[in-house]
Chain length 112, copies 2
């Protein structure tokens, strides 16, 4: 049992780090198999991908589905609980977009 001082800390614990928000974003648009996610996340290693997915699974946000066949096929999708996090992701995506446009404009009339 952890003692948080603010509830936002619980959120950070679940979606913090370099990759989890990105993964969740991609799963928002539908079920993906491992190799698809890897392609959608340039720069991620197999290890990090698996690791982050395990974390998300443990927290109940993501559901893992293994097809018993050779070669293996594994799919990931958002759980109902996982979908409840969409408002956060959407807000972050939206703000990020504005932020980039802002930065773009500022380059236009830079003083030097």
């Amino acid at each position: 049992m952890k003692g948080y001082h603010m509830s936002i800390e619980a959120t950070l614990e679940v979606i913090g780090g370099k990759w989890k928000c990105l993964i969740l974003c991609h799963l928002e648009t539908g079920t993906k198999r491992t190799s698809e996610l890897k392609n959608l996340l340039p720069g991620i290693t197999q290890k990090m991908l698996t690791q982050q997915l395990r974390d998300l699974e443990e927290d109940g946000l993501v559901i893992r589905n293994v097809y018993k066949q050779v070669p293996p096929k594994v799919e990931y999708r958002l759980s109902e609980y996982g979908k409840s996090i969409s408002p956060i992701l959407d807000a972050m995506c939206h703000w990020g977009k504005d932020h980039l446009e802002q930065a773009e404009k500022n380059r236009g009339h830079a003083k030097a």
Copy 2:
């Protein structure tokens, strides 16, 4: 110039890490001086606090105000731009609260 694949990455760059969201949350409720923030953030060191505040200042989210006196007095507050990030913080706070309540219930009827 960075090349992001998703706009959410820009957001993560700005508010990522262990402390920035917490700091912004506290500044949402009004101007705070350094020592106040330190008290509001149990576990943070002077170094981390200053460092994170500098980052936020550089990104234009926080405004730093130095009173020229002895002993020194420094206040921090959200800029207008900083306030635009509130929807994200609020969503995170809200979800975290629910998440903690959820975890609470699950402890009640754990299967083993």
